[in-house]
Amino acid sequence: MFGLKSDWSLELPERYFTLEDYEGGVARWCPGCGDLAVLTAVQKILRDEQQPPEKTVCVSGIGCSSRFPHYMHTYGFHGLHGRALPVACGVKSRRPDLDVWVATGDGDCCSIGAGHWIHATRYNMDMVVMLFDNAVYGLTKKQTSPTSPRGLKTNTHPMGSWLPPLDPLCAMLGFTNVSFVAQTVDWNPVHLHATLREAHKHRGMSFVRILQRCPTYTAAVFEELQRDPSRLLLLKGDDNVAVDPAVMKIFPNQAEHDPSDIGAARALAETGSQGEKVPVGILFRDASRPCYEDFTMQGLGISAEDKLAGLKRELDKFAV
């Protein structure tokens, strides 16, 4: 409850934020678009945690899903296609006080921005990275994405896409210094919310792949998953996403999974990539991995006098 601490003392902060404090205008996504559910979930988390809007920065690339910052009433950076992660890392590099959220599409992250994706994972800076995976390019009107299922008919592959899809979870679990990998679905708001909350709590780059319905271009891809929850595998356990028993009942398939076990995580991702037993929950978490901001923050807040003295010492080195 608001203001009530665990020792039952009450501390009332000056400001209290309601959901409206995080809402930035009417979202212009298609009716039924999965992005809306993510937006609501993030706003709720910020409200629950009473995160000041001015201390929150939502960074995105370009795509339907990258419109995300515009619908938040926080600071936002709607930048270039594929380049959300370098910008987000730059924001964090010297401003550890800012809460950074990244919204990126499957084209944005796994295609044009794939190089940055690998390296941002390795930098492991404290932020939540939400991969809005609708298995297609939405904004540019239905081209094949790296995560499109094989055979998907798109405007660039009218006879069906040629190659098997890239699996973002398998990829992530192979990148050096990965520290948090989870998967959830937009159509289960409880699990979505709980997963993003866990991601937000983790210090490091928390990568959450959100299977996201695109009713306009890939309705069929997700319809079956949505209709038949037995295709999903709910990961549970002490260290996993905790959801209400009523919600857990929806998932016929459940498995205990310890997120510290990267081998088990890779096996789950591999099975899921075949389209059966698609895991939802936290696959991997390791809070001990180094975070790049611990290095880039060096010298933060050094006084002007010390700067001047440092510079003078440098100039002395070159003096004749």
Partner: protein, 631 residues
């Protein structure tokens, strides 16, 4: 004394007399790894400490480990020592130490010498075990003499052996000692310098090098008849000695930059090398990104969050950064971009100089992207411009490109030590509350300038976007907003231009020919102009620091000269080449820009041999242009 630009005359000298010169150019050439550069740098430093003007430039082969005794492998250093300030590498050297005859050929091919140049040549090859080498050496010496070089064959290695067991390691200090004697450098100063350079390596190393130094000095007393003197000029200010990239690094720190994001690329990298070891002293950090796109993205992210940031690169890196530069212009993110230009196009000539990125800097991005572009013309400006650029970037809420080039990056010379005051540094990030009534792009109708909210400022929340946007930074769906936004961003350049002064003309304010330059060619151009004017030619020059916006008053200045031409290091068609007409001629980059803005029929002379322009070449061109007439 043979005058200010005199070449030493090689003549047997009586002991004790030295030829007094206004300047002397010395080279040390060798295979790479023989320490020539270290010796030359020390010679430069000693001269600077004695009060001479100095310009030092390394001679770098393209390969890291080229084959020994090869022409293409010529490695080493050129040190130009003068009585007054030296601003460029000058023309032919008067004195050269060559550790083998093949590398000397490499430099002859670059036209580094002229008849009369004194060559102190390692003679051990004469008795080499290989017949081929013995023959190459003997033939070369005869050929050098036929070309008018004054060759002194000296058993340098053998002489070193008396002092050290491994002459491969110590020969460079022996050479330095020799040069100190021949060039009239004080041995005591040299010993101080050597103690400073080897300070960290302990007393033993210092003493061994002192012995080599002294041995070289005495060896020259006995074996080299030539002696030169370049009297120093009285020094009035404190000086520092750096190369252009170190100067950029010092400037970045003096500007209070907190973040330098980069990806390695020659010839820009050494600026970041320097900063990586130094910037923590002023509380900053260097981020080596995964590529140039990420580097600028990272810097933009930091800047958006209120931290001053820059990125340092060269042409190919600038090309990759283009989309982000456009975003920084569109969304008005302050950012300093240092471009150390090299030869292009494409991977081009990575280690060589060119001024080929001017138009790419101005117009490289799709759409209208007005931004500030400035070019450093001296080492001192390499230091000062990042400071100015940081301020302009913040005041005008825009990216600023600072152009330097490989010539400045590798040139070393003394220049006045900047008197840094705390106001040079960026102020701390403003985190006070923001009045929500003030839009994030509250463009001033005349200047286009608007105050910028920083994350953390309560009430200032906005979403930066590269899409056309309103004053509220909302995605614009109306026809007017894009026009308004472009107008505001364009107005900023006019506003800046109104604060600039017309450039100063070097030489008479009117006359026959005006040469316009930009960037690292300034020293060479002005030296050539001096020479031409001394001979009565009516020529002046003008050097631009601001390329966008252009400095004001150019049209009026140009009107006072019968002919105006630019001299640049980039490609242009020769006017009299086959099939070149006035209409299809492709002109040098500044010429193109100036023609478009002033409507003056501006000519140009430029080339892309990858070499710094030398005063003699410019001087010759001035003569040709004045002869040719017309425009």
């Amino acid at each position: 004394m043979t005058g200010d630009t005199g070449t030493p005359v090689a003549a047997p000298l009586e002991a004790g007399t030295a030829v007094r010169l206004g300047e002397l150019i010395v080279e040390i050439v060798s295979d790479s790894g023989e320490g020539a550069q270290k010796a030359g740098q020390a010679l430069g430093a000693i001269s600077a400490k004695m009060g001479n003007g100095v310009w030092t430039v390394e001679i770098i082969p393209a390969e890291i480990k080229p084959p020994a005794r090869s022409r293409a492998g010529a490695s080493g250093i050129r040190v130009r020592i003068g009585s007054g300030p030296m601003t460029n590498m000058g023309d032919e050297a008067g004195l050269v130490v060559a550790l083998n005859e093949q590398v000397l050929y490499g430099r002859i091919e670059q036209r580094a010498y002229r008849p009369g140049t004194v060559v102190l040549l390692e003679s051990k090859w004469k008795d080499d075990q290989q017949e081929l080498i013995r023959r190459q050496y003997t033939e070369a010496v005869a050929d050098f003499r036929a070309r008018g070089l004054v060759v002194r064959e000296l058993p340098l290695e053998e002489a070193c052996l008396g002092v050290t067991s491994d002459p491969r390691v110590g020969k460079n200090m022996f050479v330095l000692g020799m040069l100190c004697r021949v060039c009239g450098r004080a041995l005591e100063k040299a010993k101080e310098e050597v103690a400073f350079v080897f300070g960290r390596k302990g007393q033993d190393v210092i003493e061994r090098n002192h012995r080599l130094l002294e041995a070289g000095f005495h060896f020259a007393e006995e074996n080299v008849p030539e002696r030169f003197e370049v009297p120093p000029a009285p020094r009035t200010t404190d000086l520092i000695v750096t190369n252009g990239n170190q100067a950029v690094g010092l400037g970045v720190m003096a500007a209070g930059m907190e973040l330098v994001a980069m990806y390695p690329i020659t010839p820009a990298t050494s600026a970041s090398h320097y900063l990586s070891g130094a910037i923590q002293k002023v509380g900053g950090v260097v981020h080596q990104a995964e590529d140039e796109i990420a580097a600028i993205g990272f810097a933009i992210g930091a800047s958006y969050a209120g931290k001053t940031a820059c990125t340092i690169t060269s042409g190919p890196g600038l090309a990759l950064k283009t989309e982000f530069v456009g975003l920084a212009v569109m969304a008005e993110v302050p950012l300093v971009i240092v471009v150390v230009q090299r030869g292009g196009p494409s991977t081009g000539l990575p280690t060589k100089v060119e001024q080929g990125d001017l138009l790419a800097s101005l117009f490289g991005e799709p759409g209208d992207t007005p931004k500030i572009v400035m070019a450093a013309s001296t080492l001192e400006e390499c230091l000062l411009f990042p400071v100015t650029a940081r301020r302009l970037a913040e005041a005008f809420r825009t990216p600023v490109i600072v152009l330097t080039d490989a010539n400045l990056a590798t040139g070393v010379a003394p220049f006045p030590r900047p008197q840094v005051t705390p106001d040079w540094f960026a102020p701390p990030v403003d985190q006070s509350a923001w009045d929500p009534a003030v839009e994030p792009f509250a463009w001033d109708p005349t200047t286009g300038i608007s105050p910028r909210p920083i994350p953390g400022q309560r009430g200032g929340e906005y979403v930066l976007t590269g899409l056309a946007h309103t004053r509220r930074s909302k995605v614009a769906y109306d026809p007017d907003s894009n026009q308004r936004g472009c107008e505001a961003r364009s107005a900023k350049l006019r506003a800046l231009q109104s604060t600039l002064r017309p450039p100063e003309v070097y030489g008479d304010a009117s006359g026959e020919l005006l040469i316009v330059g930009w960037g690292s060619t300034r020293g060479a151009i002005e030296e050539a102009v001096d020479r031409a004017r001394a001979e009565g030619l009516s020529v002046s020059s003008l050097h631009l620091r601001f390329l966008s916006p252009l400095e004001p008053g150019l049209g009026e200045i140009f009107a006072r000269f019968a002919k105006v031409m630019t001299i640049e290091i980039n490609y242009s068609d020769e006017p009299d080449a086959p099939a070149v007409t006035d209409e299809n001629r492709r002109r040098a980059q500044l010429a193109t820009l100036l023609r478009a803005t002033t409507l003056v029929d501006i000519d140009c002379w430029s080339n892309v041999y990858g070499q710094p322009l030398q005063p003699r070449q410019i001087y010759a061109e001035i003569g040709r242009r004045l002869e040719r007439g017309g425009n």
